[in-house]
């Protein structure tokens, strides 16, 4: 209403915008600029980039990162698309189990995967030793490019799977029938009709895979050894540059953001040009498979899915073994658990404490931003919308460095505090909650609010009594995804933590590096179990079987 009511939503919009500018835009831009500055004089320079592209040691990391991301993206598509297609098209035995396992492997942190593949196939790995001692075969090394590829593919193909099955769920079978009635069948139908229609979804999933594999720090750090990728290089340069102004690390972070921004923009413009709205009047009926085809399809799906859950199983199993450093001893016990609760209790506590604080902020921000950008659109909410896209293109380690550089000197010193970790968690994981909150808000009729107001209820009270209550299912399912990714966060926390603010992910990482495999396994188990419990809650909220509508 013009003139007579100071609109509370305008105030909220301004406050949110200020928060974003202070904690995200300003740090981002000051770091972007830093990459182009001379550390001594502060003058504009390209010397960091010259240094980067002149020394093989540096630019090799960029090449490695590209090698990894492109290979992983292609592999994930080759694995994810067929699984999604088979699962949508045929009756697969144990579908529910498979779906849940796929989601668990997507939601578990990649570095736990890396760590447990080392336990299995590393130099001292169970499988490696078994093969060489009992069979006399030397298994190929898990370290380096191959290992990274294995871990990433098994962790990231679920993104492709999720997006493609989402698209296939909306696929109207009459399109296929129309093709057949025109004499098009078999592979021609598959490649001419079905595939083009799901291509936008494949691309959307591929972008997620690309971003995740480019940004992930833990996996290449643990399993890469000599094979250095960009996040690892940025991290090590940053740590060794500490105390300085980290201009070189900033320049490398700029390169990463440039790449992610380009990919993000390309994908967005592709999606805008090529997206089909399909309304599934008659969804695909799942046919039955027989004989050798059934065997092959089931074999393929189960092989991939079971491979992708092996890390979790390994970790849980080894957490109950007796250990001495990185050596597993015979016999089972709870020694590792006793150890983590006595020496790493703060890490566990911190994880839940920071997670809870972050999720609270995420809930408030997610709901408010969703509301202002859906119901109170204006120039400012447009800017906020754009800013909330930024976390998509900022790799975790880059965000960590960004925040640390901006808030480690007067007037605002936040480095080493829990607050800075919570901020990074909020920035990184807000999008899940925001997206699902907006999505549900679009489905709520604005007239409901007006009906309430016309009956005499003030607008703010209406928001709480009507709108918020109706938004809750969407908000909660988004919040649980935020929560899962918050408690599993490593790449930004590993840069921001101090002795007192260590979280479980960070502790697992440091324990693995130190070779304390028992405690690492026990901590990982705590994390995995927390994740699974959260997922169970998610499924019970988001409802019906097979309808795991995860808004990624």
């Amino acid at each position: 209403m013009k003139g007579f009511r100071p609109d509370i939503w305008k105030l909220i919009t301004v406050i949110i915008l200020i928060l974003f500018i202070f904690f995200l835009v300003y740090p981002m831009f000051s770091m972007l600029i830093k990459g182009f500055q001379d550390p001594a004089t502060g003058e504009w320079t390209l010397k960091h980039y010259q240094k980067f592209f002149n020394k093989r040691y540096y630019y090799r990391a960029l090449i490695n990162s590209f090698k990894v991301t492109f290979s992983v993206t292609i592999l994930a598509i080759l694995v994810g698309v067929p699984i999604a297609y088979f699962m949508s098209k045929y009756q697969i035995k144990g579908r529910r189990f498979l779906e849940i396992v796929i989601i668990i492997s997507m939601m578990s942190p990649a570095f736990i995967g890396a760590y447990s593949w080392i336990l299995l196939l590393g130099r001292n790995g169970v499988v490696t030793r078994f093969m060489s001692e009992h069979i006399g075969i030397n298994t190929p090394s898990i370290y380096g490019f191959g290992g990274i590829l294995l871990v990433f593919t098994l962790k990231l193909y679920p993104f492709i799977y999720m997006y493609v099955s989402g698209a296939l769920k909306k696929f109207d079978v009459s399109l296929e029938e129309a093709a057949e009635s025109l004499g098009c069948h078999g592979p021609r139908k598959l490649f001419g009709i079905v595939l083009p229609l799901i291509t936008p979804s494949i691309f959307a999933g591929a972008l997620m895979v690309f971003m995740n594999s480019l940004a992930d720090f833990g996996t290449p750090q643990l399993i890469g050894e000599g094979f250095v990728t960009m996040p690892v290089l940025v991290y090590s340069e940053f740590v060794s540059e500490m105390g300085g102004e980290a201009h070189f690390a900033a320049a490398m972070a700029d390169i990463m953001i440039f790449i992610t921004a380009v990919m993000f923009t390309l994908q967005k413009s592709y999606i805008n040009r090529k997206s089909y709205t399909m309304s599934s009047l008659r969804p695909i009926q799942k046919g039955e498979l027989h004989g050798i085809r059934s065997l092959l399809v089931h074999g393929f799906i189960y092989l991939v899915v079971l491979l992708s859950i092996i890390p979790q199983l390994t970790v849980i199993y080894t957490s109950f073994l007796n250990t001495n450093g990185s050596i597993f001893l015979p016999g089972y016990s709870l020694v590792s658990y006793r150890k983590i609760f006595s020496t790493l209790g703060t890490a566990i506590r911190n994880t839940y404490l920071y997670g809870a604080a972050a999720i609270l902020l995420i809930l408030v921000l997610g709901v408010l931003i969703a509301y202002i950008s859906v119901r109170r659109r204006n120039v400012l909410t447009g800017i906020i919308d754009t800013i909330t896209m930024m976390p998509y293109i900022i790799p975790g380690s880059v965000l960590g460095i960004t925040l640390l550089l901006s808030f480690n000197k007067k007037p605002v010193i936040l480095s080493g505090t829990a607050f800075i970790i919570i901020i990074s968690l909020v920035i990184r994981r807000l999008p899940y909650t925001l997206r699902s909150s907006s999505a549900i808000l679009y489905q709520i009729d604005p007239n409901l609010e007006e009906a309430s107001i016309s009956l005499g209820c003030r607008p703010m009270r209406t928001f709480f009594r009507i709108t918020l209550i109706m938004m809750l299912p969407g908000v909660m399912s988004g919040a649980i995804l935020s929560w899962i990714t918050v408690i599993n966060e490593l790449s930004s926390s590993v840069i921001l933590y101090s002795g007192k603010t260590r979280t479980m992910s960070v502790a697992i990482y440091t324990e693995v590096v130190r070779g304390n495999y028992g405690t690492a396994a026990a901590l990982s188990t705590v994390l995995i179990v927390s994740t699974i419990i959260s997922l169970v809650i998610f499924f019970s909220i988001s409802g019906k079987e097979g309808d795991h509508s995860i808004e990624l």
Binding site: M1, D445, N447, S452, I453, S454, C457
Partner: protein
């Protein structure tokens, strides 16, 4: 208590575009007043200005003479029925209807009494404890109506309340709305684009077009004496024919056929006027009349509708084809396609519009 509504020189702008330039209207206490017009005529915008959901850029809206411009929507004491009902899906029917009462700090007993009362008025007692999703469209409509009137608002606003119902239910519900409105005697502003609905339900109708009111009047006034060509074609069908002024009260059609319209005064400077004749106001004459050819014939049970073509440049261009409806209760024989017929208009019913289409000389006599 029910109130009268005065709108004085209302202006509505969206950004820089003025959509309502200057609108004034007076709505009497207790009447059912309909805003009728094609989509985009701003009838809903005007309704939402009365409700307080959209800002007023100029002029003022008053309830019983007191300006409500500065009263926020929640304090205007209005009841509103929305096009899509806007029933709160998470509350039972009873809780939906109680919603407004509970905000008015009434005792539990009073609330229950009034809800039970209204449930029986709108005939949905048996659904009181159901969730809205279990209800049919017509039942949801009744809940929305009950929720709006149970708070005994000053004004009841209805925004195309029947447009989501099927044809049969629409007729049933408009009867129900009319009788409930009459019983409780509440000032009601009713928005619709359906002229038949407007004619059936209203005490008075305001016909709107692009943000301006074309005519205000009772359904009979508006149908029989439309104020301009737009109203005459928007409400019901009118055949528009050019005619020459042959005298103060005399017209000559292209063929030379003349009629006298008693009591009418066509100004001297008007050479060519527009005669508007409704399909049922034409009658077949033997030898004397305006010649026409039958183009199509549609049998509709009670009557037969013919599409007819008048020769020459006599009919106004860019209008739907001319029609003649033949009442089967009194017809001697049916016409065939291709028949040449002479038609006479009913001079008591005919409307004569100025060449600029804006004045009805039958009204200013």
């Amino acid at each position: 208590m029910s109130v009268s509504i005065q709108a004085r020189h209302i202006v509505k702008k969206f950004d820089k575009t003025t959509v309502i330039p200057d609108l004034s209207v007076e709505i009497k206490n207790g009447e059912l007043f309909t805003l009728l017009g094609p989509s985009g005529c701003c009838k809903t915008t005007f309704l939402r200005m009365i409700a307080g959901f959209t800002s007023i850029e100029g002029g003022e809206i008053c309830f019983d003479g007191k300006s409500i411009n500065n009263i926020p929507a929640y304090a205007r004491d209005i009841g509103m029925v929305f096009q899509n009902y806007a029933i709160f899906p998470h509350l039972t029917v009873r809780k939906n209807i109680e919603y407004g009462l509970a905000l008015r700090h009434l005792s539990q007993n009073e609330i229950k009494k009034r809800v039970d009362e209204i449930l029986s008025v709108v005939k949905i007692e048996e659904y009181a404890d159901k969730m809205p999703e279990k209800l049919s469209g017509g039942q949801q409509q009744r809940v929305a109506l009950a929720r709006a009137i149970v708070i005994k608002p000053q004004v009841l606003l209805m925004d195309e309340p029947l447009s989501n119902l099927d044809a049969k239910l629409r007729i049933e519900m408009r009867g129900a709305i009319r009788s409930i409105q009459q019983n409780i005697g509440i000032t009601t502003v009713y928005v619709t684009h359906d002229q038949e609905e407007a004619l059936a339900i209203s005490d008075r109708i305001a016909v709107m077009r692009s943000g301006t009111i074309q005519q205000v009047g009772t359904p009979i006034e508006i149908y029989t004496r439309p104020s301009n060509v737009f109203v005459s074609t928007f409400i019901g069908r009118s055949n528009l024919l050019y005619a020459q002024r042959a005298g103060e009260d005399e017209l000559k059609f292209g063929s030379g056929f003349r009629i006298r319209v008693p009591g009418i005064r066509i100004p001297q400077n008007e050479n060519r006027v527009i005669a508007a004749i409704r399909p049922e106001e034409l009658s077949i004459s033997s030898g004397d009349g305006i010649p026409a050819v039958v183009k199509t014939r549609t049998f509709l049970g009670k009557y037969v509708m013919y599409e007819i073509a008048f020769p020459g440049e006599i009919s106004v261009p860019d209008m739907p084809p001319c029609e003649f409806s033949q009442d089967l209760g009194h017809a001697d024989h049916l016409l065939d396609i291709g028949d040449q017929v002479f038609f006479k208009p009913n001079t008591a019913k005919i409307n004569i519009f100025s060449s600029d289409q804006m004045t009805n000389y039958a009204l200013v006599r």
